[in-house]
């Protein structure tokens, strides 16, 4: 009889105290896990936002560098935030005289012609040129070519390009600095913005014309 009673005593559950202690510990661990998850999620958002802004920054610089290299001239506004580049019209587009005469030529390249300009012998693609302008509109940096607008970047992190151009005897170069203000910032905004700067120097590969 004594043996049966001791077996019954050994088959018992947790005590209330044990339950309360384990629940408390579990809560603490769960709180830590939730807190860590929230922090990691915030970190992910911050990193994601930072990378996104950085990629838009790089994209803007690459767009401008590509256009400056093939340009004839670069003009920067007084506030350094608007850049106007004149480029050759290499591809025949709808509405061009050649396209009106022969629609099959749309989308094909023009043949170069040679003439003497103010700055000496020059290569021409058609009779006109194309104008590209980079400008800021709120948080958007837009590229406008002959009236057609492409939003190069729409960063909520206040992408800010500044460009200066220097004219030389035959060419010209533009120096662009693009910064952004990270969404997750905790201290001096100016310092944070400066720390995200990307610098670019692009030379006109064509002999500068006019301007």
């Amino acid at each position: 009889m004594k043996l049966n009673r001791s077996r019954l005593q050994q088959a018992g559950g947790y005590t209330l105290t044990e339950l309360l202690v384990s629940a408390g510990i579990s809560c603490i661990l769960l709180a830590a896990a939730v807190t860590a998850s929230i922090s990691l999620q915030k970190s992910f958002n911050a990193i994601d936002n930072f990378f996104s802004s950085e990629m838009q920054q790089i994209r803007l610089v690459d767009y401008m560098t590509r256009d400056v290299k093939r340009g004839f001239s670069v003009v920067t506004s007084t506030d350094l935030h608007t850049v106007t580049i004149t480029v050759p019209k290499y591809i025949i587009e709808a509405g061009d005289a050649e396209a009106i005469a022969n629609p099959a030529l749309i989308g094909t390249p023009r043949a170069p012609s040679i003439s003497r300009g103010i700055n000496g012998m020059q290569v021409n693609y058609g009779t006109g040129t194309s104008t590209i302008a980079y400008s800021i509109n709120g948080t958007t940096v837009a590229r406008t070519q002959d009236g057609g607008v492409t939003n190069v970047s729409t960063s909520a992190s206040q992408l800010l390009p500044t460009t200066t151009d220097v004219q030389l005897a035959n060419t010209e170069f533009s120096k662009t600095v693009v910064t952004f203000l990270p969404t997750f910032s905790s201290s001096n905004a100016a310092v944070l913005r400066a720390s995200t700067a990307t610098h670019s120097t692009a030379y006109l590969r064509n002999k500068r014309r006019g301007g």
């Binding site: 830590a32 998850s37 990691l40 990629m55 591809i91 390249p109 000496g120 290569v123 005897a169």
Partner: protein, 465 residues
């Protein structure tokens, strides 16, 4: 343990997402840039070959395929990341002087490593297209051939699979000949002038005779009056009080903007001037062989720019007159193995005559003794054959009185002009000195004159399709 596991999984997922997206984009950006580097390398390779047509014609186009006027070369590896470049060169244009211009088309391809996915900026809507509009990646098929054909002219469109994701960028360059007379004065070592009563400006002889209009914007010839440029391949540039209606460039100089320089200033423009060598015109005419008394040359045929009437003179101390062949444009080349100097020495070039005077020694003349009666500088060109000893210097001394129209290409010569000569033309020399009332009027029509000395890339266009 469970909590640690959960946290580890979350952290790992965050890291994975961040790195994956960043790696994808950085790979694509790198490949996009590598593609243009490869294309530009291909353009440089072709450009170097074009320059060889002047510098080393015997070895130009070695290893290139030829079809008519088009040379091509492909499959050149660039860099260590699998980049490839190819280029074609087409001799597509001849200028008024018969010098060829070349059209270079270069293509650079860079593989895109990593996952096959578009850029990180996937906030795609009708106005924000992310990287896709800028960086055209061929993940499975070559989009350019499919849409525009292999040559981009709409012919031969087909679906061509690519072995691995890649980016291809295309350039079109134009290589233009550099002729000797692209500026009013090109001096290798130093420039001194113009004097207080002198000036340097420009005009265009194809539009009429010279007239000073550099200070009159309302004159239709004004657009041609501000090309009187001066280029010095050193820091030794001294401008006196005479204005320069053109650009000034030096190599390390300290020229600053002033009211006496109407064009742009660049103190970082090095350039090279190849030595002047005597062309091979074959056997000279039997006579004359000297000009020691008043001499007249009347060729028995008109000749051409490439095959002129050729005379070899061992002495030049008296008057020489060159007549045309009838009423035809007549081409004459004269090689003087000594000096062109002496109290009686003079050169008279009649209209319709195109004369090139090559001299091994020095020139010492009065301006009035250079009589180019057409008034067009390209009709009388002086070439100072560079001495074999580079330390040896030639001299060209032009004294008053008188004016003349001519060009001088003498990279080994000290050019000295004083008094009040008005010179129409262009000068390439070792050192330039022009004091007093000396003026130089650059003729813009000279931009295509003379034998090309090099090539430059005159146009750069990227095919963005």
């Amino acid at each position: 343990m469970g909590a640690i596991l959960v946290i580890s999984i979350i952290a790992g997922n965050v890291l994975f997402n961040c790195l994956t997206r960043y790696t994808v984009v950085s790979n694509q950006v790198r490949s996009w840039k590598n593609a243009i580097y490869a294309a530009e390398a291909g353009g440089d390779i072709a450009y170097a070959e074009v320059r060889k047509t002047l510098a080393d014609p015997a070895n130009a186009w070695t290893g290139w395929d030829v079809s008519g006027s088009v040379h091509s070369r492909g499959g050149i590896s660039i860099g260590s990341n699998g980049g490839l470049t190819s280029s074609t060169v087409d001799r597509f244009y001849y200028d008024a002087a018969g010098n060829p211009w070349y059209l270079i088309r270069a293509r650079g391809t860079a593989p895109v490593y990593g996952l096959k996915r578009t850029g990180m900026d996937d906030r795609m809507n009708k106005s924000t297209k992310g990287d896709s509009l800028l960086r055209k990646i061929d993940f499975n098929y070559d989009h350019f051939i499919a849409a525009y054909g292999p040559k981009g002219d709409g012919v031969g469109k087909s679906l061509v699979a690519v072995a691995q994701p890649q980016i291809t960028r295309r350039l079109e360059l134009v290589a233009a000949p550099i002729t000797p007379f692209e500026a009013a004065v090109k001096a290798i070592d130093s420039f001194y002038g113009p004097g207080s009563a002198g000036l340097i400006d420009s005009y265009d002889s194809s539009k009429g005779p010279y007239s000073f209009v550099a200070d009159d914007p309302s004159d239709p010839r004004y657009v041609d009056s501000h090309s009187g440029g001066v280029a010095v391949n050193s820091a030794d540039f001294t401008q006196l009080n005479g204005p320069i209606y053109g650009s000034v460039s030096t190599n390390g100089g300290t020229v600053v903007p002033s009211s006496k320089i109407a064009g742009t200033i660049d103190n970082n423009v090095p350039f090279s001037v190849p030595p002047c060598t005597m062309p091979d015109f074959g056997f000279p005419k039997a006579s004359p062989t000297k000009v020691v008394s008043s001499t007249t040359i009347t060729p028995s045929l008109a000749g051409t720019a490439a095959a002129p009437n050729y005379y070899l003179l061992t002495s030049f101390t008296d008057a020489l007159t060159i007549q045309p062949f009838g009423t035809s444009d007549t081409y004459v080349a004269i090689h003087v193995t000594g000096d062109i100097a002496g109290n009686k020495a003079s050169i008279t070039v009649k209209p319709k005559v195109f004369a090139k005077i090559y001299f091994d020694g020095n020139i010492d003349l009065k301006a009035r003794d250079i009589d180019n009666q057409s008034g067009i500088a390209s009709h009388l060109q002086f070439y100072g054959v560079s001495p074999t000893d580079p330390a040896q210097t030639q001299s060209i001394d032009i004294a008053p009185p008188g004016d003349f129209a001519a060009t001088f290409y003498a990279p080994s010569a000290d050019f000295h002009m004083n008094g009040n000569p008005d010179v129409t033309g262009a000068i390439v020399c070792k050192t330039f000195y022009g004091n007093g009332n000396t003026s130089l009027h650059y003729d813009r029509a000279l931009a295509t004159e003379g034998t090309p000395i090099d090539y430059r890339v005159a146009s750069y266009v990227e095919d963005l399709r």
